[in-house]
Symmetry: C2
Subunit: 321 residues, 2 copies
């Protein structure tokens, strides 16, 4: 049996990916420390092909032990690395958060891949590696890369280490640069934040920043589809770097706030903050190019508006609205 | 008194930098674990303005203690971060080497700068962050950055973390991307390697790779001059990324080998290896753009040929030839 190890697989992205891997006839081993993911997401799938092991992936020893266990399940031939801190402001406050959860997980996984001779890495990188470049179109061939959050910095550090590992011992590495991704099970993010705020105070929604921050959003179903599309192609580069996102230029935080209010608490007022950054490390606007991804023959089913609209409804249901 | 902390200041670059800082009337505190640097390089300067403290900069605690001590010397207003592993093949063999010496030093220094409110960082980055891009001209605005050594990866990781710190609490960061730098006191590098080989076996010089690897070289005196030039300008960007190097396209390893032989052991034969990479992580050729640096009004005194020729003589003398 071919085995996929999915690091951080009990989280938002992972739990959407797993059913697709099972459908391919694979055995899946999920490694997660459950700091944000939930074992129940996996248990609900009720699949005998999915195994779970509680693992602190920021330590080489625990990661090595998990890989030793994986060998008993079959032939491990790919690693999906989705483990990371996902609370960007927390990582700005304390640099150790992204050092450990976003970067050292990469370090430990690569050490284990080297030891166990596993050649393929699919990595959840991020548009946050670009930093705040204003009106510059963010395509894969620009630089310099100047992230403005420790999260973005440690994603770029991870890309760099994977690239170096590809030179020395990996066979293939896909560096997927994620946009903002929406859907369920939502564990964090702007939509969940807004719904939670309205659940506790239904009359008023406080928005960080002036609401003009504009970003593109991809529905998680499209994200998984894009990654699987790239994975099955025989691309020329040993290290493939690709922006994943919708084709449109995105929606504003103000627009999202209005969508959430009309679904959850139509009579609420919005109270905006000052400035176009929600927090230190927030990128106020970006023009994210997905030309390369499109050139590989992939297009999303949902644009940013449709993705957010669908996700608002899904997350509202998840939260009992 | 204004105090400069020079991390890794007992090494090759640091010991060339220190006299310039002293000339400015500064107090200098050198922090170094002496794994490659030597306290004697500093002692020889016989300056009452230079202090030395043996410090393991990869740990936050030791680095914090050193900053606490620095306060007793005066007002610390800048950090020069020159500490790193400089044995690239060793870092490819064991990823912990560059993790600790090249990256965690950056992490710890930034933590200390945040705690002690020190706003200016001058960082010794590297052309190794670009990876092996073949004939592509390496200027600061290209991507993706795909380093092929852990050294290059951890330099890029350091750049990323400094960039993020600049968003949150630094006032100014210069990311100097070094080329190959030559001169004395030589602690490593191709010229010293060749001279050491000929010292033990004067009749034959074995060269890693086929000798066609072509790189540009800068003399350390020009490197220091370029950094000081950038440092004194009031540049617009909070984070300034600049390639430092000569204007020419460099010289081959074969040419360097011949220079060393004619200086040290004229009757020796050269035995070449196979392939155009000296080792895993070696970049066989690069076209390094210094257009940005030139646009800031700086030019080197020595081109690659002159820099290598002068350094061969200096290092030969250092080694007793």
């Amino acid at each position: 049996m071919n085995v996929s190890i999915v690091a951080g697989g009990a989280g938002f992205i992972g739990s959407n990916l797993l059913p697709h891997l099972v459908t391919e006839g694979r055995v899946v081993l999920v490694l997660d420390n459950l700091c944000r993911g939930k074992e129940s997401y996996i248990a609900e799938m009720n699949s005998s092909s999915i195994y779970f092991r509680n693992t602190e992936l920021s330590t080489v020893n625990e990661t090595m032990s998990a890989f030793e266990y994986a060998k008993t399940l079959g032939q491990v031939d790919e690693i999906w690395h989705l483990a990371a801190n996902s609370d960007i402001p927390a990582g700005v406050m304390d640099a150790h958060v992204d050092l450990n959860d976003t970067f050292m997980t990469t370090f430990a996984l690569l050490e284990a891949m080297k030891s166990y001779g596993i050649g393929t890495m699919h990595f959840a990188s991020s548009s946050a590696i670009y930093g705040d470049l204003g009106d510059v179109t963010l395509h894969e061939s620009i630089g310099p890369l100047l992230p403005i959050s420790n999260y973005g910095a440690m994603k770029l550090a991870s890309e760099a280490l994977i690239s170096s590992a590809a030179e020395a011992y990996l066979g293939r590495a896909n560096l997927f640069r994620f946009p903002n991704v929406v859907g369920v099970p939502a564990t964090h993010g702007v939509i969940l934040d807004f719904i939670n705020k309205l659940a506790s105070a239904p009359e008023s929604l406080e928005v960080l920043g002036d609401g003009t921050q504009q970003k593109s959003y991809l529905h998680v179903s499209d994200l998984i589809s894009a990654m699987l599309h790239i994975r099955q192609r025989n691309l020329e580069n040993k290290v493939e770097v690709v922006n994943i996102g919708p084709i449109d230029t995105g929606v504003t935080v103000r627009w999202i706030a209005n969508q959430v209010i009309s679904r959850v608490s139509p009579s609420a007022d919005i109270v905006f903050g000052i400035g176009n950054k929600g927090w230190v490390g927030d990128v106020p606007k970006f023009n994210y190019s997905t030309d390369l991804l499109q050139s590989y023959g992939w297009k999303p089913l949902l644009d940013s508006e449709a993705a957010v609209t669908q996700a608002v409804d899904e997350i509202a249901k998840q939260q009992g609205f």
